[in-house]
Symmetry: C2
Subunit: 282 residues, 2 copies
C-alpha cells in the first residue's frame, strides 16, 4: 500500500517513476521494521499467518533485524535525485519519530482507564496515518510538485489513513466473515480500545459502567461477550455513527485532492484506489 | 569520543566546525541508541553506574526510545551542507548496518565454542571500530577533504578502534585498579571471549582444554578463578603479546595519518588525543 501510494503520487505529479522505486522499497522496509518491533512489544505469536520473527527466533534477533531494516530503509530512501534527499530524509525520519510516538500512546492506552476519542484519533494519526501521508508526499517531492500541492497530498494521506483505520475497527465487528479468514469480534475478545468501543462508551450514559466491565472481562466463553457487546453497539447505533465518521474523513480526503492544481483525469488512479479501500467490506 | 573525533577531523581538513555540530550530536545519539538496545540484549542492569532504561522502565520502552533516537540521529545528521547530505547519510546508515552485524556476531560468539582471533577482530571491527572511522570520515566529508584523504582518515579510525578495544580487553585484566572503580577480572568472571582469552587458547597447547573449562566455569568464589586464569595468561605472556598487537595497530594508525596530504602540525590535536587513548592504564 505505502510503496504503491508513493509511486502513484510521483507519477501523478509528472515525476519519473524510476526516481521513486528505491524510496518506495525504503518505505516498505521501514513499515516492516515497525511490525517486527511491534510484535515484540505486543507479544504477538502470528503475523500474516506465519510465526513472528520474535517467536520463530527470539526478541534479540527481532530487535537487531528491525534496527538493521531501519538503517537499510534510510539507505534506500537516499537512492533518488540528490537535490531532494535532505527534504525527503527529514520527512521520513520525522515520520519515524511520530510512528514511534503513536506506538507508545497505543501501549499506554491499553493500561489507561480514561481514553477519549480525541486521544484515540491522535494515536491512529501518529501510528498509521502519517506514514501513508509521508509516502504520498515523498512521491510528490521527488516529482518536484509545488509546495502547497505537497501539503494537500499529505493531508489527503492523513484523511485516508484515519478513514482506513476506522474501517479496520468497523470490519472487525461488522465485516463479512470469510470462510478461512479472521474471526469477527477479535478486538472485542481482546478488549481493544477501538473507535467503536470509545464511541459506545461516549453514548452509553448509565450503561457505560456495565459496558466498561463487560469489555475488559476475559471469560472462557468469548462468544457470549461478543454477542453482548454487539447488542450494546447495535442499540447505540455504533455501526451507523462509525460509517458516518469514515465518510466525513473520506470527503475531507477528496476535498484535499480537489485542492491540488491538477486536472481531475490525472488523479483518477488515486481516486479509484481510495474508492476501493473505502468500499471494502472484509 | 565520537563527536570529538568528528569535529577534530572537520577542523583538521579546514572545514567549518559549525557545519559538523549537528552531525556530531547525531553520531552520539546513534551510539547511545545502540547502548539502549544492547542493554536489553545483554540483560544489563547498569550503564554508567545507573540503572539501564531497560531495567528502570521495561524492554518495550527501551526498544521504542532506541528506535526514536535512531530516527533523531538521522535528523541531526541532515543538518549540514545539503551537498554532502547524500554521501554522509549513506556512510552513516551503512555503518549502522555494520554495527548491528557486529552486535549479532558478539551474541553468536557467546554460545559458540570455536571462535578464532580473526573472527574476534572482525567482530570488534564491526561493533566498535567502524563507528569511530565513520565519525572521522563524516568530519572530513563535511570539510570537503580529498577522496583519498577521507579513506586514510577512515582507516586511521579503524586502526585506533581496534587498538582501543584490545586495550579495553587488556585493562580489564591488567589495568590499575581504582579505589572505587571497576574490579579487574570482570571479563574473566563473566567468561567473556576477549582477545586475551582467545590468544591464550591459541598458545596454550595441551593446557587449552583446561583453560576452556576453567574460563567457562561460574564458581561461587570467582577470585580463585581470576587468579588461576591470570596465572595461565602470565605463563603464556599474554600481556606482552596483547601490548605488541596494540602497538602494531597504533603504528598502522599513525601511518594512515602520515599518508594524509596535510602538514603534520595540522594533525597534532588528533595525534595527541590518540596518544592519550593509547597511554591510558585504567
Amino acid at each position: 500500500m505505502r510503496p504503491w501510494l508513493m509511486l502513484a503520487s510521483c507519477q501523478m505529479f509528472g515525476g519519473e517513476i524510476t526516481d521513486a522505486i528505491n524510496p518506495a522499497i525504503g518505505i516498505e522496509l521501514f513499515h516492516n521494521f515497525t511490525l517486527l518491533h511491534d510484535d515484540i512489544m505486543d507479544d504477538a505469536p502470528l503475523r500474516r499467518g506465519e510465526p513472528t520473527v520474535y517467536k520463530k527466533w527470539n526478541a534479540n534477533v527481532a530487535i537487531l533485524a528491525g534496527d538493521t531494516m531501519f538503517a537499510l530503509a534510510n539507505k534506500f530512501m537516499l537512492q533518488t535525485r540528490p537535490e531532494v534527499v535532505p527534504q525527503i530524509l527529514e520527512l521520513f525520519n520525522q515520520t519515524a519519530v511520530e510512528v514511534c510516538e503513536g506506538q507508545q500512546f497505543d501501549m499506554d492506552y491499553e493500561h489507561r482507564s480514561q481514553v477519549s476519542i480525541a486521544d484515540y484519533m491522535e494515536m491512529i494519526r501518529l501510528k498509521t496515518a502519517v506514514l501513508l501521508a509521508a509516502s504520498l508526499k515523498i512521491g510528490a517531492i521527488i516529482a518536484e510538485a509545488e509546495i502547497h500541492d505537497c501539503e494537500f497530498i499529505y493531508q489527503f494521506g492523513i484523511h485516508i489513513g484515519l478513514a482506513f483505520q476506522l474501517k479496520d475497527d468497523l470490519l472487525d465487528v461488522y465485516g463479512q466473515q470469510e470462510k478461512f479468514g479472521k474471526v469477527t469480534g477479535g478486538d472485542i475478545i481482546a478488549g481493544k480500545k477501538t473507535y467503536l468501543y470509545l464511541k459506545a462508551l461516549e453514548c452509553a450514559q448509565d450503561k457505560a459502567e456495565y459496558l466498561r466491565e463487560l469489555y475488559s472481562s476475559h471469560p472462557d466463553d468469548s462468544s457470549h461477550k461478543v454477542t453482548e457487546v454487539k447488542k450494546i453497539f447495535d442499540e447505540l447505533q455504533i455501526e451507523r455513527l462509525t460509517r458516518n465518521e469514515i465518510e466525513i474523513f473520506y470527503q475531507k480526503a477528496l476535498h484535499d485532492l480537489m485542492s491540488i492544481g491538477l486536472p481531475s483525469e490525472a488523479m483518477e488512479t488515486l481516486i479509484e484506489y481510495t474508492d476501493a479501500l473505502m468500499q471494502r467490506e472484509k
